[in-house]
Amino acid sequence: MNTSRVFVFKQLKSLLRVKCSSAAPSNDLRRLTSTPGSCPKVCVVGGGPAGFYTAQHLLKAHPAVQVDIYERLPIPFGLVRFGVAPDHPEVKNVINTFTQTAQHERCSFHGNVNVGKDVSVQELQQAYHAVVLSYGAEGNRSLGVPGENLSGVYSAKDFVGWYNGLPSNKDLKADLRSETAVILGQGNVALDVARILLSPLDILKKTDITQPALEALAASRVRRVLIVGRRGPLQVACTIKELREMVNLPGTKPEMVTAEFQGIAEALKDLPRPRKRLTELMLKAAQGSCEGGGAEKRWGFRFLRSPVEILPAPDVSRAAGIRLGINRLEGSGEGARAVPTGEVEDVECGLIISSIGYQSLPIDPAVPFDPRKAIIPNRMGRVQEAAGLYCSGWVKRGPTGVIATTMNDSFDTARSLIQDMETGELDISTAKMGSQAVAPLLLKRGVSPVSFSDWEKIDTEEMKRGKAAGKPREKMLDVAEMLKAAHA
């Protein structure tokens, strides 16, 4: 038996077309005999990495399943487009595999459809055998300190969305007039923001960063970025590639407080390799620090500091500084806890970016949601107390991890779904209408979906505009413009 399964390409469809009524028998699919005319139909809510990887695995594992991906924006790819930094184009290569999935004959993309508003999850469950929630995390974790709403304070999610062209962050109006910026949080998103704030314009102008962001950064007076964390050097959440990029960033110099690294060199020998290499690089950067003077732009970590209050400027309602509570560490390693000492220190700054995590929101009353963990309660991707509902990606396990983490997670959910089809846990014996039931509802409600080939028109136009500007693409920034190009 050929152990190498073949992914069905368009070109091979005539050779490998399988009629729904006679599913090709194989060891895995021995239980999948369907009644004539019924193909399993699965709806995926969310067109980002989780949605696409779940669809990809379903299509590969089952010869007849039809997968429809619904996405709120007119355009696909989610955080790959709106989260990955503009100077990390290679990370966006996954778009190629997603494109192949979308172009699969048993897959279709429906953009500009807001599930929960334009169509309910209950209506989707009537139209499809299974619904997979893969809609990610569109909210923020709030700081919960006074002054959080002052002008000059942004969540990293919104700041990143702004420079990446997310339509809902179009009007952010980043205030980059202050010399010092404080970023709260020490994960990779925090480092991305620091790097974009301090990168030479020559580098940024050749990326797909938006034009308004480029102009704002060109006029920016930010020269010093502090990346602040509650705990110590051994607890930073960022990874070495991103740290290396900061250390090597042209025109900048690290500025750290050597006292904050006491005892760290001694702890190195007991660390596992990834943490050890990361810490060694950090120490090297800290030791090479110069206090004041030198390079025009500086960046550095500050440890054992938690935000207590954002301080307003005396005459206007914008931020002028931040009061940081000083912590001490209890315990060690990944489980160490930050305990307030009661002491505080004030840092003068007019730009504060809170990078403490994204957060999922509930989408529809029909979908269980755990407000404490901010995820959909599930076991291995099967939504608890809700037959026929599954979830994958950040909304399933929380908003951490890279694309590959979401990929594995999505494959796991797809496997649960396939297994449920095999065991009969998921009933696929009755024919379902799929998108044919949803389309008339959308039409009645005045929603015009954007197909994948409509997206390709937007894509082509963006690349064309980008070429004129020496960039890979010039992103469209608002939904109306996208819809116009899509339906041209």
Binding site: T3, F9, T99, M407, P472
Partner: protein, 181 residues
């Protein structure tokens, strides 16, 4: 005779990103063919390892036999052209390894993580920092782990076995098992 050319990235990774976005159209592409028939053939730009397959007809090129063991423990044996990277092979031969090579060989992920035989691992050139940076993020790394996009197949590797890390096995693997919920 094919030779495996290795280029250590001399530029900081950020400058590498500049090269990528500058020259996305004009790039020599060594040994990174995308899937046949795909409309999304991408020319790849800077990556520390460039594996050059022998130029000219592939039937004359030396074929090396490599065994891949996938995430389900299934063994797939294939003949590889000397000089290709292990990522190239998986893509070209469309081997059944799920989610392999997400970043397409640009050292921006760890999905081409493979576990090599010890005697093979020891004979390879040491990893550049950029490879180790990404490998450190991979699940289930071992003392003989490498990223497949950075390993060029050579004649002396004939008959080697490379293994995809086994995923965490859970109750779900037994179809219909009582513990599956």
């Amino acid at each position: 005779m094919a030779s495996c050319v290795r280029l250590r990235s001399v530029l900081p990774s950020l400058m590498s990103s500049v090269a990528i976005s500058q020259s996305s159209e004009v790039q020599p592409c060594f040994g990174h063919p995308w899937m046949p028939g795909s409309q999304h053939y991408r020319a790849f730009s800077t990556h520390p390892i460039l594996c050059s397959s022998s130029l000219g007809n592939s039937s004359a090129a030396d074929k090396v036999s490599v065994h891949f063991v996938n995430q389900d423990g299934v063994k797939i044996t294939t003949a590889v052209t000397e000089g290709e990277s292990l990522l190239d092979v998986v893509i070209k031969k469309n081997l059944d390894i799920s989610g392999f090579g997400a970043c397409e060989g640009t050292l921006a992920c760890s999905t081409c993580h493979l576990i090599l035989d010890e005697n093979i691992y020891e004979k390879l050139d040491p990893m550049v920092d950029e490879e180790m940076d990404m490998l450190d993020l991979a699940y289930g790394i071992t003392k003989t782990s490498r990223l497949g996009c950075q390993v060029c197949v050579q004649k002396w590797m004939d008959g080697m076995t490379v293994q995809v890390p086994q995923e965490i096995k859970d109750m779900r693997n037994a179809v219909g098992s009582a513990g599956s919920q």
